[in-house]
């Protein structure tokens, strides 16, 4: 995980399509019970591909404001 950045999810909005899991270059995510789960947060490089392709806005990178 990059400094000052966070990977966040909103399980209520997730419909479990699996796009984020499939195109995550670092295998950070998985789907459990049809919802996205952040399995390996430390491996996340905050590339943002999951956020771009999530049709349900259920996963995103947040930059912490200082």
């Amino acid at each position: 995980m990059k400094k000052g950045k966070k990977l966040l999810t909103e399980p209520k909005w997730c419909k479990g399509c699996g796009y984020c899991v499939e195109w995550c270059p670092k295998k950070v995510l998985s789907i459990k019970h049809e919802k996205v789960v952040v399995e390996n947060p430390d491996d996340c490089i905050c590339c943002g591909l999951c956020e771009q392709r999530c049709p349900d806005y259920a996963i995103w990178i947040e930059t912490e404001e200082d």
């Binding site: 966040l8 909103e10 209520k12 909005w13 419909k15 479990g16 399509c17 699996g18 796009y19 499939e22 956020e51 771009q52 392709r53 999530c54 049709p55 349900d56 806005y57 259920a58 995103w60 990178i61 947040e62």
Partner: protein, 274 residues
């Protein structure tokens, strides 16, 4: 709290949206919001007009002036809004059936006028809201609930159709290649004239199931593998382009006058500017 973009540009208390798991429309809707945000347009100066169908439900979720109209008529409503308030950025979100079947006449005539609207067609090649009937962009041979033996109709190429009718900016993006789609929408909004941007979407529920295309993820992989940028396509043999989707800006003509500008000249001629 969702992402900053979503928080600012969508009516988040209305989420999750009605679209099926894996539907590409959610991605394309975010792309439109991203493009508007990138351009720094004040939300009150943006109007989203939509018609009827899966695509057109986008308007309700987007935090701008939003008008969800009747089937096929979004571009005609948008024409009235733009003429009444030319300073407004009017963006039409429509679908393949909405824009090119029931609303086909409005599409070609708005193109002919070159009125400054930006039309984003969420093309899922099927009528999703009614359960999977073939549309004007269903490829020949593919199936729908009303084409159980395969579709014998030809299919429209939306950017080509629009260009032939007089659109002065056309392009095609898709829901996999997000930055490219966002850029196309931005350029379409910036273009002072009639812009049509096709966004190739994915309908895993109806189109995918009916045509045995596999899961949403498999359909997205197909899109990833079969979309080719227009610059690369220019160097390829026609036979290698068969069945491929070409992406990019297709046509731009900044020389033709815009409709509202021309009407202002009429008001001047008639003496109504005093």
């Amino acid at each position: 709290m969702p992402s900053k973009l979503v928080e600012e540009t969508m009516r988040t208390r209305r989420l999750p949206h009605i679209w099926c798991p894996g539907c590409g429309h959610g991605i394309l809707m975010r792309d439109v919001c991203q493009a508007i945000s990138n351009l720094g347009l004040p939300q009150e100066e943006v109007t989203i007009v939509s018609g009827i169908g899966c695509s057109s439900r986008a308007a309700g979720y987007m935090n701008y002036n939003t008008l969800h109209t009747t089937h096929g008529r979004a571009i005609a409503f948008a024409t009235g809004i733009k003429m009444a308030k030319p300073e407004m950025h009017v963006i039409v979100i429509t679908g393949d059936g909405d824009a090119t079947a029931i609303g086909g006449n409005h599409l070609i005539h708005a193109a002919r006028r070159n009125i400054d609207l930006t039309v984003v067609v969420f093309n899922n090649s099927i009528y999703g809201m009614t359960g999977g009937q073939y549309s004007p962009t269903t490829p020949t041979g593919e199936k729908g609930t009303t084409a159980p033996y395969g579709n014998i109709d030809g299919d429209f190429d939306i950017p080509k159709l629009s260009e032939a009718a007089g659109a002065t900016f056309t392009g095609r993006g898709d829901c996999f290649h997000v930055p490219q789609m966002v850029k196309l929408i931005e350029d379409g909004i910036k273009h002072h004239g009639f812009s049509v941007i096709e966004g190739v979407s994915i309908c895993p529920t109806y189109y995918g199931r009916k045509n045995k295309k596999g899961s949403a993820v498999q359909m997205m992989h197909w899109q990833e593998d079969n979309c080719i940028d227009i610059k690369k396509a220019a160097k390829m043999e026609p036979k290698d382009l068969e069945g491929k989707i070409i992406l990019g800006e297709m046509h731009k003509d900044a020389s033709r006058p815009e409709y509202c500008d021309e009407y202002d000249k009429i008001i001047k001629k008639a003496g109504g500017d005093k």
